[in-house]
C-alpha cells in the first residue's frame, strides 16, 4: 500500500538524535530556529504567538505550531505563565528544543504540556534548519529528523 510504503520510506531516511527530556510528551512539526534566547514575557505576544521584540532574530515571526529551537529562556519568571497563556490561546509551539533548558521555560513547558528537550547529542544548530520536519519524542528522549 502506498501509505505504508511512504511511512517506511520516512523511517529509513530519518535520523534519531538522543537528548534529555525536560517536559514529557511527543509532537511533530516544522522547525523554527533562533540563536537568540527568549524572554517569553515581553518578547512574545501571548494572544498571537508573534515575536514582538524588534531586537530579536525572530522579530515578526509566529511561533504557533512550530518546533521552536532556541538556546534557552531568560528574563522574568512570569514567562512560565505566558507559555500557559499561549497554549490556552492555541498559539503555542508544538514542541521546544533548547541547548540547555533553564527553570522559566522548563516550568512553563511542563505546566502547559508542551514537550521540551535539551542537550541533544548533536548541535541542533548544525543538524536542523528552518522548515525541517522533525518529531520531538520527549517520552523516550530523542529528536527524529528527515535526512
Amino acid at each position: 500500500m502506498e501509505v505504508s510504503s511512504s511511512v517506511s520510506e520516512r523511517q529509513v531516511l530519518s535520523m534519531r538524535i538522543k537528548c534529555r527530556s525536560i517536559s514529557r510528551g511527543t509532537a511533530e512539526g516544522e522547525v523554527l530556529l533562533t540563536h537568540d534566547s527568549i524572554s517569553f514575557l515581553g518578547n512574545v505576544d501571548p494572544k498571537t504567538g508573534e515575536i514582538v521584540e524588534p531586537e530579536h532574530e525572530l522579530f515578526g515571526q509566529c511561533i504557533k505550531d512550530k518546533v521552536l529551537v532556541f538556546p534557552h529562556g531568560k528574563g522574568s519568571t512570569v514567562g512560565s505563565y505566558v507559555l500557559y497563556q499561549l497554549i490556552k490561546n492555541e498559539v503555542a509551539p508544538v514542541a521546544m528544543i533548547n541547548i540547555e533548558s533553564e527553570p522559566i521555560v522548563a516550568v512553563g513547558a511542563i505546566i502547559s504540556g508542551i514537550p521540551l528537550v535539551d542537550k541533544m547529542e548533536k548541535d541542533p544548530f548544525e543538524v536542523l534548519k528552518n522548515g525541517d520536519h522533525v518529531k520531538v519524542d520527549a517520552a523516550s528522549g530523542f529528536v527524529e529528523t528527515e535526512i
Binding site: 512570569v78 505563565y81 527553570p103 522559566i104 522548563a106 504540556g113
Partner: protein, 398 residues
C-alpha cells in the same frame, strides 16, 4: 536523579494530573541543577499571587489544579489589602480578579495569608537546618541567613509543586558546599536601623548572587538583618549571607575569611540617603510614606506606635504588615491608625498597583528603594523611620 517507587508512580500519573505535573516540575529542576534526589520540606511560601504580576494566565493555571498541599503553605503578598482595598484606591475589577486568585489557592488547602515574612506566623517557625521551599526573595534570605534553614529561591509554580508533593529537589542552598561564603564585606563604620537597608542596597549591586560574609563594627538585631537581607536580594540576587559572629551558621562553622574583600565606608551609606533626596530638589514633593518592607514585625509595630502615639500626620502613610501580626498587635495598630496612618495588610508598596496613584514616595527600606522607581514608576527617597514619620508631617494632637 534517584526517585523512590512512590515518586515514580506519581510521575507516571497514578495520583492524578496535578501531582504528575507537580513532580515533573521538581524532577526537571532537579535534573537542570544536578540534584541527586527529592527531599522532604517543612513548609512552602508561594509566589505568583498579585494579579498585577500573574494576570489571567496565572489565574487560569492555578484554577485548573486539583488536590491539597501536603505541608503548611502560605502566599506572597497580594496586590491589595484583601479587606480594605477600596480605601487603597484599588479598582473593583482588579479586586475581583485578586479574590479569584486567592480563592483558587485556598481550594488547594493553602492558607491564604499573604506575607513576605512567613517566619512570624504560627506553623512557620523554621529552625537551623530545616529544608523549605520559599519564594519571596527577602523571606528566602531571612530563612537561609538569619534562621539557618535551607531554601532555594523558588519560582511560583515550583514552590506550589513542592507544597503539593511535600518535597523539593536537593540542589543549591540545600547543600553544605553551596552555603560557604565566597566574598568578604568589611563595614568600616557603625550602623543602625535603616543604615542596614542602605548597606544591602550598596553591596547587592557589586556581589550579584554570590554568598557574602559581613564583618561589622556592631551587632545588628534581627529586624536589622531582615532589612539588610531584603535589600541584598533586591539590588543584587543574594539568597544567603552570613554575618561574622552573628548569624547561626557563621557562629557554628567559623568560616575562613574569603580572599576577595569589599570595604564599605560611611560615605557610601550616607550617599544612599542623599542621592535619593535629590528628587525633591527637582520640585517633587513626597505624597506618600511607606514602611514595612519586608512586613513589620511586632517589635517594629511597637516602635512605630510609640512614635505616633498622641500625634496626627498630614500625609498618606502606609505601615505594611501581615494580617496575623496586625491581629496579634491590635493595640499598636489602633494607636498607629489613630494618627491617620494606615496599617495595610496582605500587600505592600512594591506589589500593589495602588502605589501608581502617587508621584513621590519616602521609604525606609533598601528593597523598596530598589524596586519602587522601576516597578511602580514612582520616585523614591530614603530615610530612617524617624525621618519617614517627620516627612509624614507629624503634629501633636493637643
Amino acid at each position: 536523579m534517584y526517585l523512590t517507587k512512590e515518586e515514580e508512580k506519581t510521575l507516571e500519573g497514578e495520583y492524578g494530573e496535578t501531582l504528575r505535573k507537580a513532580i515533573q516540575i521538581l524532577v526537571a529542576l532537579g535534573d537542570i541543577y544536578g540534584a541527586d534526589s527529592l527531599i522532604p520540606i517543612k513548609s512552602a511560601q508561594i509566589a505568583g499571587v498579585s494579579y498585577k504580576t500573574i494576570g489571567d494566565a496565572g489565574l487560569e493555571w492555578i484554577s485548573d489544579l486539583e488536590g491539597k498541599v501536603k505541608v503548611p503553605a502560605i502566599l506572597n503578598p497580594a496586590g491589595m489589602d484583601m479587606l480594605r482595598w477600596k480605601e487603597m484606591g484599588i479598582e473593583p475589577g482588579f479586586a475581583r480578579k485578586q479574590q479569584e486568585i486567592i480563592d483558587a489557592y485556598e481550594s488547594l488547602g493553602i492558607r491564604t495569608k499573604c506575607t513576605c515574612t512567613p517566619y512570624y506566623l504560627e506553623g512557620f517557625d523554621a529552625r537551623l537546618g530545616d529544608h523549605l521551599a520559599w519564594s519571596e526573595s527577602s523571606a528566602v534570605s531571612y530563612a537561609n541567613s538569619v534562621i539557618g534553614a535551607r531554601t532555594n529561591r523558588e519560582g511560583g509554580p515550583s514552590a506550589l509543586s513542592a507544597a503539593l508533593v511535600g518535597k523539593t529537589a536537593n540542589y543549591g542552598y540545600h547543600l553544605d558546599e553551596m552555603r560557604e561564603p565566597v566574598v568578604a564585606v568589611t563595614v568600616d563604620c557603625e550602623l543602625s536601623e535603616s543604615d542596614y537597608g542602605a548597606l544591602g542596597y550598596v553591596t547587592g549591586k557589586s556581589i550579584g548572587s554570590r554568598v557574602p560574609i559581613f564583618y561589622m563594627q556592631n551587632k545588628p538585631s534581627k529586624d536589622e538583618l531582615k532589612t539588610l537581607g531584603a535589600a541584598l536580594a533586591a539590588s543584587g540576587a543574594v539568597a544567603l549571607y552570613h554575618v561574622d559572629g552573628v548569624t547561626p551558621e557563621a557562629i557554628r562553622s567559623d568560616f575562613e575569611r574569603p580572599d576577595e574583600n569589599i570595604i564599605i565606608e560611611k560615605q557610601q551609606i550616607a550617599d544612599v540617603y542623599e542621592a535619593s533626596a535629590e528628587f525633591t530638589e527637582g520640585g517633587l514633593d513626597t505624597d506618600i510614606i511607606t514602611v514595612g518592607c519586608p512586613h513589620c514585625s511586632p517589635e517594629e509595630l511597637e516602635t512605630i506606635a510609640r512614635m505616633l502615639e498622641g500625634k496626627s500626620i498630614q500625609k498618606e502613610m502606609w505601615v505594611c504588615t501581615s494580617r496575623e501580626v496586625a491581629q496579634r498587635c491590635a493595640e499598636q495598630v489602633k494607636t498607629i491608625e489613630k494618627s491617620g496612618a494606615k496599617v495595610v495588610c496582605d500587600t505592600c508598596m512594591v506589589v500593589s498597583p495602588a502605589s501608581n496613584n502617587y508621584k513621590a514616595m519616602m521609604v525606609n527600606s533598601g528593597k523598596a528603594l530598589a524596586y519602587v522607581p522601576s516597578m511602580c514608576r514612582v520616585a523614591s527617597r530614603y530615610g530612617s523611620i524617624e525621618q519617614c514619620i517627620r516627612e509624614a508631617g507629624v503634629v501633636d494632637e493637643n
